[in-house]
Symmetry: C2
Subunit: 214 residues, 2 copies
């Protein structure tokens, strides 16, 4: 799997590198190890030799799969957004009612509380670190947020179709507001080591969606 | 000025180092230069020699004012929160009506649009980069967000006192939701290079506050 398979990018699909099953597992181990290191120490604080050592692979193995650190980071972004989305299932697949929105919020709060609100959002942290310093990756970061926003958007649209929300509700704008509230709430929760900011932010965004209830 | 003068921290006020007027100007130039470099390249991407060169000072001058990089970064956090707050005046001093909240939102949007939504939030970027990697600075980051949230909180309390908001409105929670919406909105706007996420996020948070109008 190339990173661009996992995030929607414009243009034709890139040729899929043909790796053996063992090769795919090695590549996956490298990406997962790099993602874990970067989550803890940031991209700037994680070197290719760090990844080599932690994943128990050689430099040539890493460079077999990734031309350079940027390509590895690109794969980490794609990996983290898929992990984030997988971690929020089954909620994200059916955000089409107010109880479903609140259950999603509660699951995110519980997830933060399980590790004392440390760590924050893997996507948000990558975005904040990379968006200005690794300009070539801005498209990957935007695609990661789009990927996460898509199910939120789809759920709200279904609520409008089903007549739960009024026809005038701008569900795309509401989806962006929900994602922004989650991002900001996660960052404040991380800094304050308390789930209260995430709860307050998500409650406000969901409460605003409720103001469009039919 | 020590960094702890600028942010509210518990405990007794630290002794204020006595510098001459020229010394204070040199210290200010170092902090401002470091803040600019860090805003563009991150803390990990900014070395003490980078700051020296850009501020045209010697290493011994930097170490005269700052024991180490952590102390310099601490001063940068305090500087950036004061800059952020100064940049949002006079709005932050009178966030005590719905028109005032919308004028604040519009000023933030205009500010982002002036530089094509690049750069994002200086405080949010520092927080995201440092909160897990520089644990000793977490208190400074929390104090920076508290410092920014205080005038939002004060404005909402006045709205409740004045009967603009109902007595049941939890103004502290609403203030946190507003700050989180701004943070998340700024990050999404930075990644998408569009002010729309900030607009959507702030509108949702202000709209939620409106649901508590008396």
């Amino acid at each position: 799997m190339t990173p661009t398979d996992a995030v929607s990018t414009p243009g034709p699909a890139p040729a899929r590198p043909r790796h053996t099953a063992a090769g795919r597992r090695t590549r996956e181990r490298i990406v997962k190890t790099a993602a874990d290191l970067i989550f803890r120490k940031g991209v700037a604080g994680t070197s290719i030799p760090d990844v080599q050592q932690a994943a128990r692979v050689s430099a040539s193995q890493i460079y077999h799969y990734f031309a350079d650190k940027t390509e590895l980071v690109r794969a980490v972004i794609a990996h983290q957004v898929e992990q984030t989305i997988a971690g929020q299932q089954p909620h994200l697949d059916r955000l089409d009612s107010f109880p479903a929105l609140r259950a999603w919020r509660d699951a995110m709060i519980a997830s933060q509380e399980r590790h004392d609100c440390a760590g924050g959002c893997a996507i948000g942290s990558l975005a904040s670190e990379l968006v200005e310093t690794y300009e070539p990756l801005r498209g990957d970061l935007a695609a990661a947020f789009d990927r996460w926003e898509a199910p939120i958007r789809a759920g709200l649209r279904r609520m409008r179709q089903d007549g739960v929300l009024v026809a005038e509700a701008d569900t795309d704008q509401l989806a962006t507001a929900l994602l922004a509230a989650v991002q900001g709430g996660l960052l404040l929760s991380q800094v304050r080591r308390s789930s209260e900011p995430l709860r307050a932010a998500a409650e406000a965004a969901i409460g605003y969606v409720e103001s469009f209830a039919a």
